[in-house]
Amino acid sequence: MSSRSLLIAAAAFGLMALQGPARADVEPEALVEPVAEYKLYVLDNLDAFVGHTRDFTRAIEAGELERAQSLYAPTRVYYERIEPVAELFADLDASIDAREDDYEKGVDDPDFTGFHRLEYGLFKQQTTDGLAPYARRLMSDVKDLESRVQGLTFPPAKVVGGAAALMEEVAATKVSGEEDRYSHTDLWDFQGNVDGSQKIFALFKPLIAEEDPAFVERVEDNFAAVEATLAHYRLAANDPEAGFVSYEKVSDKDRRALVGPVTVLAEDLSTLRGKLGL
C-alpha cells in the first residue's frame, strides 16, 4: 500500500467529516432553468458531434489515414463533454465508447466497436483497412444517440451529479493515460470532461453563490488550476482548436499535479446534489 493512497484516504475522511449535513434551501422551481439550459447545451454539442463524426467517418471510408487520425480527438471531445447524458444509454455508450478491456477477447472481440476500435486501427495498426464497417456503425450510433437525447427528459439529479461524475472520470481513467492508449490524445478528452463539468457548475452556481461563497471560490480556484496545467500543453496558446501535445509528453510531475485539484473537484462537486436539494 502506498503512502499516497493512505494520504488520500485520510484526506477523504477529513473532508467528509468537515462537510456535515447537506443543506437544501434552494427552491425546486429554481432548478428548472439551469436544467433546461443544460439540455440546450447538450443539444448544441450533439449537433456538432454529428457533424464532426460525419467528417471523421468519411475520411476513414475514403482511406485517408492522416486525415482520419487528425479528426479522431476533435470529434471525441463532444462526446466527452456530454458524457453524463450520453452514458445514460448503456447500449450506445458501449458501442460508441467502450474500451478493449471491457471485452473478454479484447481488441479481437467481435462486439468491440466505436471510437476505441477505430483508434486501434488508425494509431496502432496505422491503416484504415477494414475499418469502414466500424465507421458506418459509429455514424449510425451517433445519429441514434442524437435522436434519443432529443426525446429525453433530463433527470435533474443526473444533470447535477454529472459535474462530479465527469471529474471522477478524469481521475479514474484519464490521468493514467489508459483511455487513449494508442493515440495519446488523452488531453483532448480531459479538456472535454472539464468543459462539461464546468458548464454544469456554471449553470447552477447562481443558486448557491450567496449561501456558500467559500465553496464556489474553492471550486473555481481548482478549475483554474486544472485549466492552467492544461494550457501549458496546448499546441497554440490562443487557439483551442489546435489541441494538445501527445500525452506521452506530459511529465510525471504534471500528471501528479493534476490529480490533486481533480480529486478535490470530484469530492466538492459531489456535494452539489445535496446543496440543491436533489
Partner: protein, 382 residues
C-alpha cells in the same frame, strides 16, 4: 552527507511514535473499506466475478434498496442497473477487492444488471411491489423539475422554428409569391398554435400574434389588426400579398421576442394542463359554436386544431411518468382522447369536406375536459 545537525533522540522517538500511531489509524480505516466481510456489508450483497454476477438474479422490494457490490474479479469494473437500455444507477471504476455500496430507489418491475465485462451475461433484478410499504408519497415539487425543464426546451426550440418560418413567410410576401406565402403561413401557424398555451402568458404578444378581426372596432380594416389572422385574411380570403410586408415583418419580430421570453418564462406546473385546456376552449369558442351554420370546418380551423392538439400532446407526454404513478386510468383516457383527435386530423392542407364537424368538436371538448381533470389528480393547485 548533509550538514544538518542530527535531531535529538527524544524528538526522534516521539516522531516515530506519532508516525506509527498515524500509520496504524490509517491502516485500520483503509482495511475497513477494503476488507469488509459479509456481516459489515450493508443491504443486498452482490459479487461480480470474472464471469458475471453472483447471484445472477436478485429479488428486492420496491423502494430504497442498498446494494453492496463486491468486485471479486481481477480488474476494475462498473456495475449498472438498467431499465431496458437506460442506466438508472451506476458505480464506475470499482477496484478489485473493493466493497462498494449503492442506494437506489426502484419502482416495481424487472431490471437488468451489467456484471463486469460487457461480454459477461447480464444479471436480473426483480423488484416486487411491497404492500406493507408506505403508500406512494405525495408528489413533491422536485418531481416537476424534469417536466418543466423539458417543456422550456421544447418552447425554446419551437420558438426558433417559429422565427425561421415567420422569416420565410416574410420573404415570400415581400416577393409577392402567393403560393409560397400560403405554404409558409401554414408552417408558421402550426408551430404558433403548438405554443398557444405558453404564448397566452404574454397578453401583448398573444394579441399581436393571434387576435381575430372580431376583437377590433373596425374589424378587418382596423389598423391595430395584425398577426396571423390578418395575414390569413389577405392570403386566403382576398388572395393577395399586397400591403402585407410590414405585417409579416412585425410577425417575425414578435416571434423573436416570444422566443426570448419563453426561454426566461417561469411556468407553474398547474399551468401546463390548465393552459392547454384553455387554449382548446378558445378554439371551441370560435369554431365549435353550435349555432354556426357550417357542415365542415375549413382547412385553417383544422390546421389550428392540429397545432393545439400537438401542443397538448407534448404536455401529456411530459406529465406521463407522474400520471403513471398517480392516476393510471386518467392517463389512459388522456391518451385515448389525444389518439382520437390526432387520427381525425390528418396532415392535410385541403379543405375539410370529409371531416365531420360535430364529431371533431365533440372530440376536442372531450380532450379539454379530460385535461381539466389532470391538476386535481396530481394534487396541483393553480
Amino acid at each position: 552527507m548533509s550538514q544538518s545537525p542530527a535531531p535529538s533522540p527524544r524528538l526522534l522517538k516521539l516522531g516515530v511514535l506519532a508516525a506509527t500511531v498515524a500509520m496504524l489509524a490509517a491502516l485500520g480505516l483503509f482495511a475497513l473499506t477494503l476488507d469488509a466481510r459479509d456481516r459489515t456489508d450493508a443491504g443486498t450483497r452482490l459479487v461480480v466475478t470474472a464471469e458475471g454476477c453472483r447471484p445472477e438474479t436478485l429479488n428486492v422490494p420496491a423502494g430504497d434498496t442498498t446494494f453492496t457490490i463486491v468486485n471479486a474479479s481481477d480488474r476494475a469494473i462498473e456495475w449498472e442497473i438498467l431499465d431496458g437500455v437506460m442506466v438508472l444507477e451506476e458505480r464506475e471504476n470499482i477496484a478489485p477487492g473493493l466493497h462498494q455500496p449503492l442506494t437506489a430507489r426502484l419502482a416495481p418491475g424487472d431490471y437488468t444488471m451489467t456484471c463486469g465485462l460487457l461480454s459477461n451475461p447480464r444479471g436480473t433484478l426483480h423488484v416486487t411491489a411491497n404492500d406493507e410499504a408506505a403508500p406512494v408519497a405525495r408528489l413533491a415539487r422536485q418531481d416537476f423539475i424534469g417536466a418543466l425543464a423539458e417543456y422550456k426546451v421544447y418552447l425554446t426550440l419551437q420558438g426558433r422554428r417559429l422565427t425561421d418560418a415567420a422569416d420565410t413567410l416574410h420573404q415570400a410576401i415581400a416577393a409577392g409569391d402567393l403560393g409560397s406565402a400560403r405554404a409558409a403561413y401554414r408552417r408558421a401557424r402550426l408551430i404558433d398554435q403548438r405554443l398557444a398555451m405558453a404564448t397566452g402568458l404574454f397578453s401583448d404578444l398573444d394579441q399581436r400574434l393571434n387576435a381575430r378581426a372580431s376583437d377590433f372596432a373596425r374589424r378587418e380594416n382596423d389598423p391595430q389588426f395584425v398577426g396571423f389572422q390578418r395575414l390569413a385574411h389577405s392570403l386566403f380570403t382576398a388572395g393577395s400579398t399586397e400591403g402585407l410586408a410590414p405585417v409579416a415583418a412585425q410577425l417575425g419580430e414578435d416571434a423573436r421576442t416570444l422566443t426570448t421570453r419563453l426561454r426566461q418564462a417561469s411556468i407553474p406546473p398547474a399551468r401546463l394542463a390548465d393552459g392547454s385546456a384553455r387554449a382548446l376552449q378558445v378554439w371551441l369558442d370560435h369554431s365549435g359554436d353550435p349555432g354556426a351554420d357550417q357542415s365542415a370546418l375549413d382547412a385553417r380551423e383544422r390546421l389550428d386544431l392540429r397545432g393545439l392538439t400537438q401542443g397538448a400532446d407534448k404536455i401529456v407526454a411530459l406529465l406521463d411518468p407522474l400520471l403513471k404513478r398517480r392516476a393510471p386510468p386518467l392517463r389512459q383516457r388522456l391518451h385515448d382522447a389525444l389518439d382520437t383527435l390526432e387520427k381525425a386530423l390528418p396532415d392535410s392542407t385541403t379543405a375539410g369536406d370529409g371531416a365531420d364537424r360535430d364529431a371533431l368538436v365533440a372530440d376536442t371538448r372531450a380532450l379539454a375536459d379530460t385535461l381539466q381533470e389532470l391538476n386535481p389528480a396530481l394534487a396541483l393547485n393553480g
